[in-house]
């Protein structure tokens, strides 16, 4: 049986790219069937299939890295590059929504009444729940750094506690934001204000949920002894993503909630 004489990971053939691509097709055609015909079965199938694909694909990455030892230093470097590039692409994604907000709010048209916020829009008070949300996410940035340092010092108990606190803060943010959504006097269809507000904060909320899920996965892996004090890239990737989510919120708070009111 031949063995490789290099440090790189030649990944074995896998069915998940195919099931992922087909799931994407089901999601998009499912959206069409829902929008035009109020028919939700295809969309539900797409959501389920993509969730199953993601679970199994990342499960396999854990198997290849933690159990088979394929994540050598050069491979880990590649994974780091990959995560950084992905986060950069997400920054560009949010840049679009911020562009839309600033385009409309810096030069308000006659349709908005010539000022921002537009006539008839009652913005949320930035010094109330939005300020609390800012404090919650900033605190979660502290707790995740604490978790990382505890992990690097091989302190299992503290790293688990700090990670759990970070997850709890993330869940608390989501709960607060959902209750804020029910308190707004405007909806997504209330002109350009509603559109920019809910598209930007809505996608941010989705990213908070994704980040919280990523952190929860890290918590489970940490409990199962997957991480060592020197090798825990999965955790670092989750931490980078979480800090990105925090920074996006700060931009949202300052631009839309504070300046935009």
């Amino acid at each position: 049986m031949t063995h490789q004489t290099h440090a790189y990971h030649m990944v074995n053939p896998s069915p998940w790219p195919l099931t992922g691509a087909l799931s994407a097709f089901l999601l998009t055609s499912g959206l069409i069937m829902w929008f035009h015909f109020y028919y939700t079965l295809l969309l539900a199938t797409g959501l389920l299939a993509s969730a199953m694909t993601m679970f199994q694909w990342w499960r396999d990455v854990v198997r290849e890295g933690t159990y088979q030892g394929h994540h050598t230093p050069p491979v880990q470097k590649g994974l780091r590059y990959g995560m950084v590039l992905f986060i950069i692409s997400e920054i560009f994604f949010f840049a679009g929504f911020f562009w839309a907000f600033y385009h409309s709010s810096l030069a308000p048209t006659p349709q908005t009444g010539g000022h921002w916020p537009p006539t008839g829009i009652l913005p949320l008070n930035p010094m109330e729940v939005p300020l609390l949300n800012t404090a919650v996410l900033l605190a979660s940035g502290v707790t995740i750094t604490w978790a990382h340092h505890s992990l690097m010092e091989a302190n299992r108990k503290e790293s688990a506690q700090a990670l759990l606190m970070t997850i709890a803060l993330g869940a608390y943010f989501t709960y607060l934001q959902m209750s804020e959504y029910s308190e707004t006097s405007f909806t997504i269809s209330d002109g350009i204000y509603g559109s920019t507000f809910f598209m930007a904060t809505g996608f941010h909320g989705l990213h908070v949920i994704i980040g919280t899920t990523f952190l929860a996965t890290c918590y489970i892996r940490q409990q199962m002894y997957h991480f060592t004090s020197s090798h825990h890239f999965g955790f670092e990737a989750a931490a980078w993503y979480w800090h990105f989510v925090d920074v996006v919120w700060l931009f949202l708070y300052i631009s839309i909630y504070w300046w935009g009111s």
Binding site: P15, T19, S29
Partner: protein, 83 residues
């Protein structure tokens, strides 16, 4: 500040024993042995009893769903009558 956070956290927790309070045993060495066996089996079907059923369910859902989606799109393209 971190110490007060820790104290706050401990206040809400059950008594912590001196041994690890995690509910998991370290099964990583067993898994490493299992997955490093020179059996030529890829990662996705081996490791857990539900691996193969999960794989089959995913394939059925995606391939079947795609066929159904194409059928639905074909039906939507020809309103009322079918060629």
């Amino acid at each position: 500040m971190l110490w007060s956070l820790l104290a706050l956290r401990q206040f809400g927790q059950r008594t912590i024993s001196t041994t690890s309070h995690s509910h998991f045993k370290n099964r990583v060495p067993e898994k490493q042995k299992l997955f490093q066996e020179d059996d030529g089996i890829p990662v996705y079907p081996e490791g857990w009893v539900a691996d193969v059923p999960l794989y089959r369910a995913t394939m059925i859902l995606t391939v079947g769903g795609t066929a159904y989606a194409i059928y639905q799109l074909a039906m939507a393209s020809f309103p009322k009558k079918q060629d």
